[in-house]
Symmetry: C2
Subunit: 331 residues, 2 copies
Amino acid sequence: MHKQVTASDIAKYLGISQSTVSRVFTPGARVAKETRERVLRAAQELGYRPNVLARGLITKRTRMIGVAMADIQNPFYPEVLGGFSKKLRELGYQVLFVNIENDQIEDAEMSQFLDYSVEGVIVTSALLSSKVVSSFVENNIPIVLFNRYHQNLHCHTVCCDNMDAGDQIGEYLIQKGHKRMAYIAGNPNTSTSQDREQGVRRSLNRHGYSLITDIGHYTYEGGFEASKRLLSSVEPPDAIFCANDIMALGAMDAAKELGFGIPKDISFVGFDDIPLAAWSGYSLTTWRQPVEQMIQWSIELLIAEIENKGVEREPMAKWIQGSLVERKSVR
Amino acid sequence: MHKQVTASDIAKYLGISQSTVSRVFTPGARVAKETRERVLRAAQELGYRPNVLARGLITKRTRMIGVAMADIQNPFYPEVLGGFSKKLRELGYQVLFVNIENDQIEDAEMSQFLDYSVEGVIVTSALLSSKVVSSFVENNIPIVLFNRYHQNLHCHTVCCDNMDAGDQIGEYLIQKGHKRMAYIAGNPNTSTSQDREQGVRRSLNRHGYSLITDIGHYTYEGGFEASKRLLSSVEPPDAIFCANDIMALGAMDAAKELGFGIPKDISFVGFDDIPLAAWSGYSLTTWRQPVEQMIQWSIELLIAEIENKGVEREPMAKWIQGSLVERKSVR
DNA sequence: TTGAAAGCGGTACCAC
DNA sequence: GTGGTACCGCTTTCAA
């Protein structure tokens, strides 16, 4: 941007006023057809493009959305990021991206969103402190939490109905004749993992079964180790439900290594339906989260608030139903 | 950003000039220690943060870097994106992210980088038209191509030395006693895939072997299908080298499905060393690309040019050596 | 060390 | 329909 062509350059070049040039690039403008064409042609010729940052200064609109994403190594999230990027772009918004290192977002990781005056923020799979949230609320910047739920925070939420999903998975496992069910939790202080656990537990209890649990921190290695522990116990489970697919894949590999047949000796159910789950080496039965829909809703929530600025809005929680994808990891 | 607190607000509040407030937040400033403290305190109190976009208007620096990324579903790239995001942030730059749908970048996908006055652009695993490149050159915005090489384009390049890698992999397979080697190409008109192929071919030729080839488009499914074709032929190969890991995993699964033992009947070598390659279900021998280093160099190239603006700079090509990671997929 | 004023590249309201 | 002008929030001379 060393020698940017400006609206004044065009104006001077055509001998008209800078305001007129500006109007040509302003949506609700009224400019004589002929003038418009001359300007457009000159812009093309000289390589002029309106500086959106300068525009934003006066319109108070940057058309940037901050996206903060943790757990980007989990194949579920690249898909999510791609979806957001695409949809937002179609609506004329840009993505200011931040990769979050830990599960708990630090202030510094979000502060640039404030500095760059994004109009809204999407946070996936991470925890926000209430202090951070309030700094956004003060600045009237809406936040939507994707795939994480937080009771007391003033943010919108779009979440799979994890409790119900867990419940249905429990029912399914029982119906398939399993007796000793285990659950491998993700990060145990995430709503996502908790709700899924509570769900299975509910259905198992209904039928008089109890639940064995372990923790896998949402990673392949974590799932692998947890599975090993579970399967090496005196009475190993005959079915393991994992809080996400990536752990389930690790758990399956551990089972294979220990000589368990899948699904002959033990069944596995995952969560997310990442592409890998369908790979023939795994063929994992899992819970499909309707990603497209969740992305769509998140964006609608965000944009609605952005474009109705001024109207106070209560935080909304959108719960979405998922569905079981049956493959070959359950007997 | 509805009611942003501005430097003038602080100034008025403290009864000093707005310029003084500004100076407190300007790196090379000289302000009385006492004044500075008062300003800082007031800023804290009223929640003031300098508007970096307004600042950029005058300093001509946005501290934003455009990152255009294709193939984000390939587990190699989330890692890359995470790395860029982290390192750039440490240097005080932000990432404006765009997900590219196809292998060939369209003008519209890059135009926002121009609109938002990013200071540099990183493009991974995608092809740029020379028209797009020249619009960036005109605006003095440096581009670095990550993992793709383009002879005639005025961009920097950071690339693994694919030719050499292919060569070494060929040598390795021969040394391990293989006789019929196959190569599964990615997208056949990418430099990356071509160079890797040329590399193996070179070493095989040196030893009097020829190379069977097929195409897998860099996807799991593509690798799966290509492998099936290869292995169903009258004289199936005894080793398959795939242009990336994800195809190799697909190829392995296909082999297993056809009843081939790995590595007993057939060996596999991948490329990238994505986390999945180490999973016990695969244990894929592969070529490790030193991602960290590549990211580092890309950023250095970019920043060097950004911060020396004005000095004309020739496009640089950085080639980096990788190394073989031996696991259990080669006999 | 500080304040006044110009200006970055735009938009929007005002007359004409 | 068009030009003049104020102003968005900030940095940067230039004087004081």
